[in-house]
Symmetry: C2
Subunit: 154 residues, 2 copies
DNA sequence: CAGTGATACATGCAAATGCATCTATTTTAG
DNA sequence: CTAAAATAGATGCATTTGCATGTATCACTG
């Protein structure tokens, strides 16, 4: 396999693309986290509840969760401490790996996730749906999925 | 003007689109900030230098910078303290508004921005360019620009 | 199967962050 | 023109974060 040096215009395009993706994320996130739903629970903590709620088995390893959020391992560990102290999640030892921790929602955690989730989804729709047509949203979704898949595989 | 209630499928699409945009941003950012360039300066601090370097006049008000980054006003104020202590930026009073602060790069700041920037752009290109075709990148850029513009106008 | 290295998560501690509040300036209302 | 309200940014303080490191378990090597 040969690797060709990228042209400077290709480099520039990639950089501009990332810049725009990043700024749009900042703009949307700024609005979302200002929403009243996140007075009850910071958005980063909500995100962990949400991630757990999406998972088919209902439980995830801490390191799996860590891949989904932009937090160091130690920060996630303490974030989970806070969620646990509030009775929203439960730690248990991974059955197949004595080092690992499985995290699951308590019923209070499920409740709160759904409650915040409903509001959050409304806010998202209000911000994203009028900005892009349905086709554009589908295309954006496809492209960001593809980008994410490539990065994850690298 | 009448507002029609969005269908649940429209709401779902918007939510999935945002979710994918957000996760892709997390995945890419995770890689980028792990790059060796950001041992010299945290990526958030670099971002301020970068923003200043892009600005035609070379100077920006703190509240303008604040719109571009995901930081509270007070955090930005102290981030700028750190940059100033390192001699990378200079505060000056806004000529047309005695309350305002204009921030500009020092020459050391320009140097460091360019130095980190070169490395950073290479890392971005390595991550984004192979993931999407040039046409796809242009389309992603267009869509995120459009989303950002809508959010900013709201 | 002992010993070495790797991995998963926790924790001490210094640094960064956000909220509430403060000061100073500008804008607006009367 | 003056007084009240709004805005820009700084600062005290409690919370959150990350780095470095610690402990426990697992994987690999000879």
């Amino acid at each position: 396999m040969t690797t060709t040096a990228p042209t400077s215009s290709a480099v520039r395009l990639a950089a501009e693309t990332w810049e725009s993706l990043f700024r749009s994320q900042v703009a949307v996130m700024r609005r979302l986290q200002a929403g009243p739903a996140f007075k009850k629970l910071p958005i980063k903590e909500y995100d962990v509840l949400f991630t757990l709620s999406r998972c088919p088995t209902g439980k995830l390893r801490l390191n799996e969760i860590n891949d989904h959020v932009l937090l160091s391992q130690s920060s996630l560990s303490r974030l989970v401490d806070r969620l646990e102290k509030r009775g929203l999640v439960e730690r248990s030892i991974a059955p197949d790996d004595g080092r690992g921790i499985l995290l699951g929602l308590t019923s209070a955690g499920q409740e709160l996730q759904k409650e915040i989730g409903r509001e959050h989804v409304r806010d998202i729709a209000e911000l994203v749906a009028p900005a892009l047509t349905a086709d554009e949203q589908r295309e954006l979704l496809r492209l960001t999925d593809k980008l994410q898949a490539f990065v994850a595989s690298k």
